[in-house]
Structure formats: C-alpha cells, structure tokens
C-alpha cells in the first residue's frame, strides 16, 4: 500500500476516537511497542528513537537486529569504503546500546570483504553471547576483489543457533564439520558462494541438521552425505560428484546446472541406493551431453514430484524428460519450467522426438512459460495422450510481471491463444487451468460427467453445464440434441452477424456516394438469404 494512503488511514483511525483514547500509545506497555519495533526494518525503527524520551531506549529491547542495506549502497564501488565505515559504525552503535539478554535474529547484509574481518568477528561474538537463533551474514557483492570473509568457527558451543545463512562467506571443509559439531540444534544451514568448500563430508548421525543448501560454491568437487537425518538438500552450481548413503529422511533434492547425461545418471543411481524415500526432485536438463540411445535411468520408486528446468528450444531435453518420467513410476506431479535466456548449444542437431511412454500415475502437469508454439502444443499433447490418470493440466503462459506496455497486449494474446490451442485437445475429465505469473487463476476448463440420482427433473442445464439424473442412452441423446442445438445456434448467429455486416457496408457506401453499385444477381441472393 502506498505510504500516503497508509498515513491517511492511520489518521482516520485516530480522528473518531474520544479524547482519552487518542493518547493510546502512551499507556501501552513497553512489550507491545518493542514487539512492533522488532518487526520494523531497523532503519525505520531507528527513526522512532527520536520520537520522545520513552521511545529513546525501546529499540535496545528488540529481539531482531536486521542490518539491511536496502539502498544497496555496497554496489557503488567508488563509495564503498566510506559507506562501509558508516555501516560498521551503525552496527556497532546499535549493538553497543542493545540491552536485551537474548536475540532471535541477527542479520548483517553489506558487501564486506575480508578486510572487515575484525569487526565481523566481534559481531558474531556479540550475536552468540545473546543466544542468537538465526544468524545471517550476507556479504553479497559484485566485485570479487579482496576475497571473502573467512568464517572462523567459534570453539565454544553455539547452543541456541537454529539457522545459519552464510552468503559470500568462505567456509572450508573443516569449518563445516566444526559448525555441525558446535551447533547442537542447527537445523538450517545455507552456504552460498563459498570458494573454500571442496570436498565436504557429512558422516555422523545425531546432528539436528534438516535443510542443507550449498549454492554456487564453485570450488566444490564432491559432496558426501552419509547416515544423516537431513530432509532437504540443494546444491545449485557446477557438476560435482555425489555420494549419498543411508539418508532415510531425505525427501527433497534440488540439483542444477550443466550435468551431462552421465553425471545425471550417476546422481540418479546415488539417489536410488542412498535415498530410499525421496519425494521431490528438481533438476536442470540443460546442455545434456552424452551418448544417444536407450537411457537406462534407474527407477525412483518413491518420487512423487519432479521439477525440471529446460530451455525453450531444446527438444533434446524433452526427449530425455520422457525417459526420466518413465523412470519414476509413482510420479504424481510434474512441473516443466522453461527458460529463455540462452540458446542450447546443439540447437541445429536434429531434434529427437519424445517417444510415447504411457504413465499410470501422473495427475498434474504444469508448464511454466507456455508459448503458443507448435513445440509447446506438442509437449502438452504428449502428456495428455500418455498420462492415463491425468487430472489437471496447468498452464502458466509466457510473460513476466515486468513487461513493457506493448508486451502486455502480447501477453493477453498469449493467454487466450494458449486456451484456444489446448481446449480441443483436453479430454473429458482433465481440468485445464491457466495461471498468471502472480498465481492468479484466469481460466479453468473442466469437463466432467456426473450422475445425480437426487435430481428433481430428468435434466438440468446452466450456462456452462448440463446435469442428468441418469446417464443412459436417452440422457446422452438429450445432451447430444442440446449440444447440436447450441452449435446450430452458433452457426446462425455467425450467419446473421455476417449479413448484418454486409448490409451495413452497403448502406454506408450508399450514404457516402449516393449510388448503388452492387450486381443485381448478388443483391437478390443476399435478400433471399436474409429472408
């Protein structure tokens, strides 16, 4: 909501109050105000310190300290140094004044490199001394000079830490082990863009760790996870060797970027042996290289949901996809995300078509960035024809939220074209759903045959449905005749529209020119048709 509107709303709320209620805030207990402050951005919260004597020290009681760089000042490199100093003194001031014995969340987000190590170490020490539960160090920056801050894992136990997010912070293999050992209740660990992580191994049981994310750690060679209780694992980045063993609780895996068919096959083998209960798998099918031929993908019996990212013009990926789907006999949901931003390398190679492979369980197929191209239609057709149990076909037509004006037209055209294309091929019993980028459903098509013995009359109709008491030959005849009538009606409506249009043209030209130019025979034909 816009700021001005919000301010008006706030003032309106106060206007109707009795005089004694107006100064409501002054008699509220500190806890309420502190709780509100904790939920504000720190920058806005600092503003309130200047409100009055009472508000001056409320900020020292918050349980969330999120130092955000919302203006992204770290990006402007020429000013980085002075801004970095300012940011540092901001953080130092606030933590110096902070009084509450415990904090829930501590978050520093600024493009620091290793030159700020001393200050950062102190902040981490502060956060741990306050029994922090969520710690985030986000030093994302564009220039990579200077090197990342190296996360020196404290020797003492970090008893209350539940969630640790390290972005552009270097952690090495030994450091990861120490983190897991020293944080007994750590559940979420996310390490993004660490360049020191090479061959991390997670072996021991008994860690609380549930969600592990190692994104864009470009130094990674391999990851080994055995006997752990993790529930979700994600590693987006260059191809790496994986070893999974005895991961009974692992349900979701997300892997991406540049796998060849061979490495993909290796991953699937690892999953097959080491992750018996995997339910959700997300994979990129980009740049798949490798020998063509039958793909003996190992079977993933438990997998229920598959999310694949493919390039728009890469038929090869879709070819592989058909084998991948075949390898998951219990798959219920498939999402195909299409990306546009790059061309596949072997675009000119002869496209391999998807081979028909019937699937018994697949219920929901979602295609994101659907364009009305023949290729996309074919893709949709493939699933309609091969999935016996298909219930829903969800289409998110192409077009991001930030489209230019002339593109908006194109977007709405794309929406309707998609519908026109898909409506005829959608069989009875399959719901066709169109969803926009912001998840709003803009059309649903659903055909279903229902019997309703409780119906009062033999048949009941509505704008877009017919209900029958019993489905027998009479009933079908009724539907047939109603459908026939409505189609005939459509036909005549079109005829009449055409003729009215023709007459309008004739009248207009007569009005303009004062003459009548139509051939006698044609005029008689038109009049005859109209009568």
């Amino acid at each position: 909501m816009w700021k001005r509107k919000r301010l008006e709303q706030c003032k309106d709320g106060l206007r109707n109050l009795d005089e004694d209620l107006v100064w409501l805030v002054s008699r509220l207990p500190d806890e309420v105000l502190v709780s509100i402050l904790s939920k504000l951005h720190l920058k806005d919260a600092v503003v309130t310190s200047k409100l009055s004597r009472r508000w001056r020290y409320l900020l020292c009681q918050t349980d969330r300290l999120v130092f955000e760089d919302r203006e992204k000042r770290c990006v402007i490199r020429s000013e980085q140094d002075s801004n970095a100093n300012k940011y540092m003194s901001w953080v130092n001031h606030i933590i110096h004044q902070h009084k509450r014995p415990k904090i829930d969340e501590f978050n520093v987000s600024f493009g620091f490199d290793k030159s700020a190590t001393d200050a950062i170490n102190k902040w981490i020490e502060f956060a741990i001394s306050k029994d922090v539960r969520t710690l985030e160090l986000n030093f994302k920056r564009f220039s990579q000079t200077g090197g990342n801050y190296y996360f020196n894992v404290p020797v003492m136990e970090i008893k209350f830490l539940k969630s640790l997010i390290l972005n552009h912070v270097d952690v090495d293999d030994e450091g990861l082990k120490k983190i897991l050992r020293n944080c007994p209740i750590l559940e979420d660990l996310s390490i993004v863009c660490s360049r020191k992580l090479v061959k991390p191994e997670i072996h021991e049981k008994g860690f609380a760790l549930k969600n592990l994310d190692m994104t864009s750690c470009n130094g990674l060679k391999s990851i080994e996870i055995c006997d752990s209780n993790i529930v979700s694992f994600s590693s987006r980045g260059y191809p790496i060797a994986l070893k999974f063993d005895n991961l009974q609780k692992l349900q979701k895996i997300c892997m991406s970027k540049g796998y060849s068919l061979k490495t993909m096959n290796d991953i699937l083998c690892q999953i097959c042996c080491g992750v018996p209960y995997l339910q959700v798998l997300e994979l990129d099918l980009y740049f798949l290289e490798g020998s063509i031929g039958p793909y003996p993908f190992p079977k993933l019996q438990q997998l229920e949901e598959l999310i694949v990212n493919v390039f728009d013009r890469d038929d090869d990926a879709l070819f592989v996809l058909s084998f991948l789907v075949e390898a998951c006999p219990n798959l219920r949901r498939l999402t195909i995300m299409k990306t546009m931003w790059s061309r596949p390398r072997h675009m000119n190679r002869e496209a391999r078509r998807m081979a028909d492979k019937p699937h018994q369980c697949l219920e929901v197929v979602e295609i994101v960035e659907y364009r009305d191209s023949a290729r996309d239609l074919e893709l949709a057709m493939y699933f309609v024809q091969n999935c016996v149990a298909l219930k829903k076909l969800v289409i998110k037509p192409f077009g991001g939220p930030g489209l230019a004006k002339d593109k908006i037209m194109e977007k709405s055209v794309a929406k309707n074209r998609a519908r026109q294309q898909l409506e005829p091929i959608t069989p009875v019993g399959v719901e066709l759903i169109g969803i926009s980028q912001d998840m709003e459903v803009f059309w649903i098509l659903e055909y279903e045959v229902k019997e309703k013995p409780m119906l009062n009359s033999l048949m009941q109709g509505g704008l877009d449905y017919i209900m029958l008491q019993y489905l027998n030959i009479d009933g079908i005849r009724t539907i047939g005749s109603v459908l026939g009538q409505s189609i005939a009606l459509d036909y005549y409506v079109r005829q009449v529209d055409g003729m009215v249009g023709e007459f309008t043209d004739i009248n207009r030209s007569m009005e303009k020119t004062g003459t009548f130019t139509m051939k006698r025979k044609k005029l008689f034909q038109l009049v005859g048709k109209a009568n």
Binding site: K3, R6, L7, Q9, C10, K11, D12, G13, L14, L17, L21, V22, W23, L24, V25, S26, L28, P29, E31, V32, S35, I36, L37, S38, K39, L40, H41, K43, D44, V46, V47, T48, S49, K50, L51, S52, R53, R54, W55, R56, F67, K86, Y87, S89, W90, H93
Partner: protein, 146 residues
C-alpha cells in the same frame, strides 16, 4: 461430556463466556486453570469489552491447522485501524496469545513502515516531550545512523 465454560470480565465489567478448551490457547488462562481450576470469573483489567469480544471471536475460530496462519493474518487485516490493533496487541500480551500478538504488531509495523519521524508521530500520536537541548543532543547522537 459437557464442555466446561469459563467467564472473562472486561475492564468495563462486562462478562464473556468461552469454552475452556478454547480459552486455554491463552497461556495466562491455561496457567490459571492449572492452579485453581478457575471456577470464578477471570478479570482482565486492561482489556475493554470491544477488544475482548474480538479476542473471543479469534479464540473461537474453527480453522484447520494449516490454514491457521492465513486466518490470523486475515483476522487482523480486517481490523486495520491502529487503535484497534494496539488494543488487540495489548490484550494478546495480557492473555499471552503469541500468534495474535505477533500478527497485530506485524500489521502495525506494516502500516508505519517507511514513515518519517513526523509521520510516525502523527500516525501513532506521540508527543515530543523533550526540551530543545535534549533535541539537539539526540540529533548529534544520531549522526551515525546509516
């Protein structure tokens, strides 16, 4: 089995009935029930009757656990005026209903985010009780603000 009801009394001496198993979502009430069975009326000296009625409506909700988050959010959204929200937050604090307290405070924070000092002052009606000297001191002190 008949359900046991409790009686809550607002600041202006109005009485409200609520079933015990719903009322114990409030940690305060749960502790009272544990201690003495809470047979008598539970007084809430800081909560007015309008706010208490809202709290009771909230406690009486019949939501599936997975929809609860959305419900709480909608519940406070529909009562988007700051005084109501603040009263609600205070009541939730006294009764120790964490979810409601968080949601109400979150809504207030959403309303006043990005406001300048003067705008916050207007929105919340907070008087400046500082002398000019103190004003200057505070301005100097906040030089570091990023």
């Amino acid at each position: 089995m008949s359900k046991k009801t409790l009686t809550l009394m607002s600041k202006d001496k109005q009485l409200f009935n609520i079933e015990e198993h719903l009322a114990v979502q409030s940690v305060t009430i749960r502790n009272m029930v544990k201690e003495d069975g809470a047979s008598s009326v539970i007084p809430l000296p800081r909560v007015d009757s309008e706010t208490l009625a809202l709290v009771i409506e909230y406690l009486n909700r019949q939501q599936a656990p997975e929809e609860d988050e959305d419900y709480v959010k909608k519940f406070v959204d529909e009562r988007g005026e700051i005084p109501t929200l603040l009263e609600l937050a205070q009541a939730a604090l006294d009764l120790d209903i964490k979810k409601l307290m968080d949601a109400a405070c979150m809504k207030v924070a959403d309303l006043i985010k990005d406001f300048t000092l003067e705008e916050v002052r207007e929105a919340l009606r907070i008087e400046n009780d500082r002398t000019p000297e103190e004003e200057k001191a505070i301005r100097d002190e906040f030089q570091w603000a990023f």
